[in-house]
Amino acid sequence: MGEAPYEVSISLQQKFHEGNTLDLLVEVLQQDVAFEDIAKEAHKPKRLGRHTAPSVDSETTMPEEAEGRAEDVKGALGPTCAGTCLVGGEKAYNEMVRVLDLEARTYFRVWLLQQPAKGQGSRDAAECANYQLFVRAAPSTRELSLEKKLGQQLRCPAEELPSTLDAPRYLQGPSDAQKDFHYSQHYRVDHLWHNQAHKMSFTLREATVVRIAAPLHRHLEFDIVLNQDMGAYSHQTLMRAKKEDHHSAIFAQLEKGSYHLKLEFMSDAALLQLPCQTVQLELAMTTNKRAKV
């Protein structure tokens, strides 16, 4: 494991009606230890009742170990709990879950403790328990703020609205020529709450046909505004597309120059800020020359 703390999740799964229920226990044996430096011999399972610090001298070979079954610890063996011991976990449907944070370089053991049901017929039936055990470890994010954690979990896959269409994906073609484009996709708007609007500038190097359509949104109401830039700090509106039945639309043949499209939201900011809120836009542009067929 690396240096970052780890989140260890242990899930013990058994049928609710299982006669031989198991309990789990996590025993932390050694901390801040490199893998090759782990004193495995010192941490071999001990007989129950000997809750003392491990001692090499006191080690005796158990019958199970002699038979090569050291991992299959049974009978009078158990945790010494010389360090930290965590018993049990949260009960869920047919399951017991324990989630714990451990520092990297921690050597720990998971114990399953069996409590055979009394009054079972045969000895075999009494000793046999059906279960599944899942143990997983992954870098912990518990130290992160809730906001950051949410941000990680809810990383929105939708494309962000571009601030300019003068980019290779849109108008910028090879050798700086103006390129045609046509996209229909969902754009993310949940990060636009500061000003309730988004501006996309674009420069046309020649006369161009432009079409924009925005289907009706279930929650958000917005207008699409086409503005012509009249200088560095001023513009004039060519068209404001409001919702018409089920969509807003702009169809225009524009002379070369600088323009910007603006999405102006009328809805409450809370709706705009819903995680990964998107609007669908269909945008297309082609030069007049290529539009003439």
Binding site: A4, F16, R169, P174, S184, T237, A241, H247, A252, N288
Partner: protein
């Protein structure tokens, strides 16, 4: 087995659509309509937008009424294809009694409206578009004086199958055209119309995905083909599908991308069904790419899709509503390349990604078929990395491979130049497998790598089939953040016996 198609699409478009004709022919082909000069220009002065209201720009292309009888028990499937930019048509269906409006689902160039069941009564079906505003002063400077509308349209009754009345569903639907009698058209709705039969699952599927087209030129015949859509397969079995393509001037090169692993794409000459080219797997076999160049203008070709029901790498083969992205682009491969000597070597430097989740971009000039960039992910521990490769400015599709760079600063492959099996295996071991690949974005592919270790990587961008003399530009966007794999997950492991202990009915 020899069969002849009895109905073929008329070569000449009609000037006017009628509902009777649409209902009659739509089971065989889409009716093509061309309306010359249908969309006029409306001059606007900057700052005077308040004088222009959207209803003033409304252009009606088709409007007819029909009646659904008590015992029809039918819905409706309408599909209109047009060039979005030049025609941009919308479809709307209105119940005249209640005033309820049903508007189309928009896809790229396609307006689709599928209604599972229509209540008995009168309906109005309307197709419309908008006038074009312009700020070009002089009329003689306007290259386009008015826009023609070219669209094709299908209207079919629809019935759900799979219920108790399975046989009844196949019965014809007598549709009464309310105002068709005023027409001089000789097509009268005097015969029953064959309904399109769909299962409940397919009906759901049609809402978000398109059926595979018979003709690649689904947006009309006015401009270059360039679409990317989600299609569905309404079958569980092996199946194949043919799509017609007619090569036109400036469109002698064809690129078909199919984001599905258990399939193959081929192109055949329509005349003699001679195989001309086949697809190759890309993105680790998760998709297929076919590129055909030097097609002959005026010749017709068949693009053949062959699907297997066996689960592919995506594990989706044979699933109900099996849907996938298919993207088609035509062009002239030569003119889509930049001059090999032109431009500078955009973005040859190494790339650095911070763990702030912010996108950074770098343009990559593709001189060779493969270009490599060193990517350093700052920080330590596990991170997630998202790479988006945008090839919108290129004809040849690009894909990428992410490889771990060793502490010595060289990718693993450089140490094993012998090319033997061991080296190949080692190369595979150092390649980082993406957790997911998203093909839904047009002209771009997004690769998500989760829980990888921060450090140095090599990004290799490939353009298959590209000629050596062709230079093109792709854009690589990248962002990274601390791994979120230990955040809440619903994943519970993949053991088949899991459900034995998860039965809530035993509680």
């Amino acid at each position: 087995m020899l069969a002849v198609r009895t109905a073929t699409r008329p070569t000449e478009p009609v000037k006017r659509l009628t509902l009777a004709s649409l209902f009659r022919h739509s089971s065989n082909y889409a009716t093509v309509m061309k309306k010359e000069g249908a969309i006029h220009l409306e001059r606007v002065e900057p700052g005077s937008s308040k004088d222009i209201e959207q209803p003033d720009l409304f252009v009606e292309l088709f409007r007819e009424s029909f009646e659904i009888a008590e015992d029809d028990n039918a819905g409706l499937a309408i599909e209109v294809n047009s060039d979005f930019l030049l025609a941009g048509v919308h479809v709307v269906l209105q119940n005249t009694a209640t005033g309820t409006l049903l508007e189309d689902e928009r896809h790229e160039g396609t307006s689709k409206l599928t209604v599972g069941l229509l209540a008995p009564g009168h309906y109005v079906l309307m197709v419309y578009t908008h006038k074009c505003i312009t700020n070009i002063d002089r009329a003689d400077a306007r290259v386009v004086k008015a826009f023609d509308v070219l669209l094709d349209m299908r209207v079919r009754p629809l019935r759900k199958v799979g219920g108790r009345d399975g046989e009844l569903a196949k019965a014809g639907v007598p549709v009464k055209i309310s105002d068709g009698s005023t027409s001089t058209d000789t097509d009268k709705p005097d015969q029953e119309t064959t309904p399109v039969l769909v299962t409940a699952e397919e009906l759901d599927c049609r809402r978000d995905h398109l059926p595979l087209p018979d003709d690649l030129d689904i947006n009309g015949v006015t401009s270059q083909i360039d679409w990317s859509e989600s299609f569905y397969l309404p079958t569980y079995a092996f199946t194949s599908h043919e799509m017609l393509y007619t090569a036109r001037e400036g469109q002698q090169a064809l690129r078909v991308f199919l984001a599905k692993s258990n399939c193959k794409v081929s192109i055949l000459s329509k005349e003699d069904r001679k195989l001309l080219a086949q697809s190759r797997p890309v993105d680790k076999g998760r998709a297929q790419l076919l590129v055909a160049t030097d097609l002959v203008v005026g010749s017709q070709y068949l693009v053949l899709l062959e699907f297997s029901e066996r689960a592919g790498l995506d594990g989706r083969g044979g699933a109900s509503c099996d849907h996938f992205v298919m993207a088609v682009k035509t062009g002239d491969a030569a003119t889509t390349c930049m001059d090999a000597s032109s431009g500078d070597d955009a973005g040859r430097g190494a790339l650095t990604s911070s763990l702030d989740g912010e996108f950074r971009s770098s343009a990559i000039g593709m001189k060779k078929k493969t270009e490599k960039r060193l990517l350093t992910i700052q920080g330590s521990g596990a991170v997630d990395l998202q790479l988006t490769l945008d090839y919108s400015a290129a004809f040849y599709r690009a894909d990428l491979v992410l490889t771990v760079v060793t502490p010595s600063g060289h990718p693993e492959r450089h140490r094993d130049a012998a090319g033997d099996e061991a080296a190949a295996l080692k190369l595979i071991a150092t390649e980082t497998t993406p957790t997911s690949i998203d093909f839904t974005r047009k002209h771009a592919t997004t690769y998500l790598f989760t829980n990888i270790v921060a450090g140095k990587y090599e990004v290799s961008v490939h353009q298959r089939f590209k000629a050596k003399t062709c230079r093109s530009l792709v854009t690589l966007s990248y962002r990274s953040w601390e791994a979120g794999a230990s955040a809440v997950t619903l994943e519970r492991g993949g053991l088949s016996g899991l459900q034995i202990y998860q039965s809530q009915s035993e509680e």
